[in-house]
Amino acid sequence: MSEPWPIEQIPDADLLFMRVHRNDIQNGQPIPGVFKNRGEGEQEGMSTDWSSYSTAEQTKLRATKPAWRGGVIQMGVGHVRKIPRQTVEHAPLLVNRAHTNVKGPKSGSVEGTQARYLFMKVWRWAIRYEGDASASTAA
């Protein structure tokens, strides 16, 4: 569901934000499994938010479960596009103009394993998860 927002081209210099649940954080870092596709067919992809229409905090607040706890990572669009077979496609939703899919294999093949390995090199914390007591925004 893309209407009513137009699909736009995303510049390499922009960022993508993605939530990471606390269960998927080990030793202060996201595990490689967080880089996975969801959905099927045309909608299949790794769900992220484009920094042009979302902040990291807004991405965090889009968690649908009230008890959700975790952090938000950011990735440079240009860095993601350098990962073989990965494409960045704006896929706005009615309730989220920033929604963007990162398409391409992420499992079941050497290419998928390579992609996730390289995702592990390009992410940075936007909002670090530091337990239930507090969370801070990374520089």
Partner: protein, 245 residues
């Protein structure tokens, strides 16, 4: 170590006119010799013509050693089970961790104490299939105990081979659930890194990718693990890079 002698009659090919120069050399039917992995050269010329030990030889021996270790491990487990049934005192294993009653313990190989960081990572990773459902995480990554076992077997086989062949201790990986019920083994030891993914479907091969951050375009490794081989040379080499110095 003393080996059982074998009768040379089964091995020897007589060459007429060739003298050994040993006055006390027994007739062929009375001789005994020790089995060797490689033919022992008898002269300088033999040494120069002797085939070099190739990398393939090393890998073959490593695979054979790992297979023997697996067989011994299974036999020890069977003996322990029999002793337990007879209510006799249990054998004292050289384990890096105390016995646990959960079934996941059985997959733990008899790792030397030097590999305790790997043992600890394995112990702690049981949470990825024992984790209770979390209502706040409807997209939780999950895997089965069977997939976890396959991943741990790959890990221990390679860790032991690096330790036995190079006396090096690989770093403990991050062991975590991956996409579609798979299990990830992830190593980082700057500048080297490696991600190995074990799929949920046991008929599908594990895949891996790693590189050297200082030269990622030309110094990298990737591939699929051959299920018929315990050890993958590509993974082995990269894990040796990540070993503690």
């Amino acid at each position: 170590m003393r080996r059982n002698p074998i009768n040379i009659e089964l091995l020897e090919v007589e060459e007429p006119g060739v003298e050994t120069g040993c006055s006390d050399w027994l007739p062929s039917r009375e001789r005994e010799m020790q089995p060797l992995g490689f033919a022992a050269p008898q002269s300088h010329e033999d040494w120069s013509n002797a085939p070099a030990i190739t990398t393939q030889d090393v890998y073959r021996l490593a695979a054979e050693l790992a297979q023997m270790r697996e067989q011994i491990s299974q036999q020890l487990t069977e003996i322990q089970q029999k002793l337990s049934q007879r209510r006799e005192p249990r054998l004292r294993w050289h384990r890096t961790k105390p016995d646990r009653k959960d079934t996941g313990q059985r997959v733990l190989r008899f790792l030397p104490a030097d590999l305790s960081p790997v043992s600890d990572a394995i112990e702690n990773s049981k949470a990825i299939f024992n984790r209770p459902p979390d209502p706040s995480d409807d997209l939780a990554l999950r895997c089965s105990q069977e997939t976890w076992r396959r991943a741990i077997k790959i890990l221990t086989d390679h860790a032991l081979t690096v330790w036995e062949k190079a006396k090096a201790i690989i770093r403990a990986p991050v062991i975590s659930a991956g996409p579609d019920g798979s299990v990830d083994l992830y190593w980082t030891a700057e500048p080297y890194g490696l991600l190995l993914n074990v799929p949920a479907d046991p008929t599908q091969p594990a895949t891996y990718f790693g590189d050297d951050a200082t030269n990622p375009d030309s110094n990298r490794t990737s591939g699929k693990l051959n299920s018929s081989k315990l050890i993958d040379p590509g993974v082995l080499m990269w894990l040796a890079h990540t070993a503690e110095q």
